[in-house]
C-alpha cells in the first residue's frame, strides 16, 4: 500500500487530468480527435478508479474499471466504424 498523502495527491491530480481531457472532448478540432480524447478520458477515469480501489481498500472498484475498459473499447470501435463506413455492422 502506498502512503495516504501520495494517494490523496494522486487522486486530485488525476481529477485535474480528467477535467482537461473532458475539455479536449468538447473542444477537439475534428470528430476523430474528439473520439481520441474520449478514449483518453476513459483511461483517466480508469486510473482514478484504480487509485480509488487502493484508497478505499475495496476490490469492487476494479470490477467497475474492467467494465469501463470493455465498454470504452466497444465504443471507440463503433464510433470509428460509423465514421468510416456510415454503418457499424456492414
Amino acid at each position: 500500500m502506498p502512503h495516504a498523502i501520495v494517494l490523496s495527491i494522486a487522486i486530485i491530480w488525476m481529477a485535474i487530468l480528467l477535467a482537461i481531457s473532458l475539455i479536449l472532448v468538447i473542444a477537439g478540432p475534428s470528430l476523430l480527435e474528439q473520439i481520441l480524447a474520449f478514449d483518453m478520458a476513459t483511461m483517466m477515469i480508469l486510473g482514478g478508479l484504480l487509485l480509488l480501489a487502493l484508497a478505499r481498500d475495496s476490490s469492487f472498484d476494479l470490477d467497475a474499471g474492467l467494465m469501463l475498459a470493455l465498454f470504452s473499447f466497444g465504443g471507440t470501435m463503433a464510433a470509428t466504424r460509423y465514421y468510416r463506413k456510415g454503418t457499424i455492422f456492414s
Binding site: 502506498p2 479536449l24 486510473g47 487509485l51 487502493l54 476490490s59 470509428t80
Partner: protein, 116 residues
C-alpha cells in the same frame, strides 16, 4: 523487504501520473491526428500498467486477479482502438491534408518531393 513496498508504490504512482500528464500535453501540443494518436497511445502501457503493478504489490488475491485481467485486456485492446482511429483518419481524409512532416508511406513529404 516488506518495508520497501510503500516507497516503491509511491514511486510507481508518481511516475504513472507523470506519464499521463506528458501524454495529455502531447495531445494538446501535436498538430496532427496521427501524432496525437502517437502521444495518446502511451497512456495504456506507461500510465495504467504501473498503477496495476501497484495493485499487484498489495498482495491481496482479489486485487491481483482483477488487476491481471484488466492489464491483459487493456494491453490487447488499446493498439486495436488506435489502429481503428488511424484507419478512419486515413480513409476519410485525402492524404494531401496530412501535415508536412508526417511520413507518408514511410517517407516524409519533403524528401518525397525532392526525389521526384
Amino acid at each position: 523487504m516488506s518495508g520497501l513496498v510503500p516507497w516503491v508504490s509511491d514511486v510507481l504512482i508518481l511516475g504513472a501520473l507523470l506519464m499521463l500528464t506528458i501524454a495529455l500535453y502531447g495531445v494538446f501540443r501535436m498538430p496532427d491526428i496521427y501524432t496525437r494518436l502517437h502521444a495518446a497511445s502511451k497512456t495504456a502501457v506507461f500510465g495504467i500498467a504501473p498503477l496495476l503493478l501497484v495493485i499487484v504489490l498489495t498482495g491481496d488475491a482479489a486485487f491481483i486477479s482483477r488487476a491481471l485481467l484488466m492489464g491483459v485486456f487493456i494491453i490487447l485492446t488499446t493498439p486495436v482502438a488506435a489502429h481503428s482511429i488511424a484507419r478512419a483518419a486515413f480513409e476519410t481524409e485525402p492524404p494531401e491534408h496530412i501535415e508536412r512532416w508526417t511520413p507518408v508511406d514511410g517517407m516524409p513529404r519533403e524528401f518525397e518531393s525532392r526525389d521526384s
